[in-house]
Amino acid sequence: MSDGGGDAKILAGGQSLVPMIKLRFASPEMLVDINNLPGLDYLRLGEDGRLHIGALCRHGALERSSLLATHQPTMAAAAPLVADPIVRVRGTLVGSLCHADPQGDWASVMTSLDGLVVAQGPKGRRAIPVKEFVRGPFQNALAIDEIAVEAVVPAPQGVSAGGYLKLERRVGDFATAGVAVSINRVGSNVTRAGIALTGVGGSTISADDAARVLVGGPLTAEVIGEAAELAAQAAQPHTDHRGSASFKRQVVRVFTSRLLTRLLLSEEEAA
């Protein structure tokens, strides 16, 4: 990567990068294919409760994972909604984070989970919060001699709950709008909350104000309404061929409310 002088790109799944190169939106001087590096395709739950996703862990592996189905509901909900089944055979979560497309699903999911990207370079390893890693549209925080080797989801305090909803015109289209919700609960008390938005701004949006109103008490219809309104306010949508700005803002409002209401109802059912 150092030899590339900043004009080298890592090729993992290639499902976003290769089309961009073909369309001449990207023209890296050098591509470094990591597909033959062994030992990077893992999905692993550490003894400390942290979830590790290797740089070659494909969307399809996440979609089929029983570990995610039981331990990480937001990721489990998002995995089958990424692109289409054939793209999911090749594409990777870490690659999606690096690509930093404002319409990428994983950046929102990992933002809502306070996830981290582990970068490795000649000076060693460092963990970068996804919120800082995604710098803007198609911009990440990697130095030119660093590569992203894994993503990490911190151990939950209490029980993880959450979900992901995406509106798309057809399978494989970019999101018209998407919402990721992740909360931790001890009993019915929400100890941590994250809400992030896909495709409704120049970059992935962390709806921090919306998440904050959920923390410190149980979910109620009232706080859910408040969070949905704040999430809609955090969106910065533009009118385009996928819909008007006000429509997309409304989708964010409805999706946030729907996801949180599902969590409230499942809690009531369990009780």
Binding site: V18, A83, D84, I86, V171
Partner: protein
């Protein structure tokens, strides 16, 4: 070595780097000298003459170029030929011999699972991967598996029927 193909642009300069790749295509080991930027779809079509693999959208949407890489469906317009070096590739030509039909091909014929036919090779290769993994899929599972393959004639109903026909035939065999 059975065959060595050369796939270079006509105007290739002397300083264009090339790589030799050897791919097991439909059970036969084929080699080619290619530019690293050459896409697998183009090697298959222009290099190896396997024009059953279609390039439709060229933007990773339509799935007409779907082939199996080590048994898994991939869009061959979104993979460099050098990435298939040392791997197994199966194209639609590999489903059955030149004078035979595979059960999947028979299903598409019997149920009229095509109109213009352009998307059909990709549909059939994704179907192959589906039925290898799940020999008795439900209609929902078929629609889910084929959701990365687009048919502009919108003949999805008969495509689903064709896959079900093939599944039944394969199970009876």
């Amino acid at each position: 070595m059975s065959n060595l193909y050369e796939v270079l642009p006509a105007e290739a300069a002397d300083d264009v780097p090339v790589r030799k790749v050897t791919i097991r295509v439909n059970g036969e080991s084929l080699s080619a000298v290619v530019e690293p930027r050459l896409l697998l779809a183009h090697l298959l079509r222009q290099g190896f003459g396997l024009t059953g693999t279609h390039t439709g959208c060229d933007t990773t949407n339509c799935g007409a170029c779907t082939v199996l890489l080590d048994g898994q469906p991939v869009k061959s317009c979104t993979l460099f030929a050098v990435q298939a070096d040392g791997h197994d590739v199966m194209t639609v030509e590999g489903l059955a011999g030149p004078s035979e039909l595979h059960a999947i091909q028979e299903g598409f014929k019997e149920e009229h699972g095509l109109q213009c036919g352009f998307c059909t090779p990709g549909m059939m290769m994704t179907t192959k991967a589906l039925l290898d993994e799940n020999p008795n899929p439900t209609e929902d599972e078929i629609r889910w598996a084929l959701s990365g393959n687009l048919c502009r004639c919108t003949g999805y109903q008969n495509i689903v029927k064709a896959v079900m026909w093939a599944a039944t035939k394969l199970q009876d065999q």
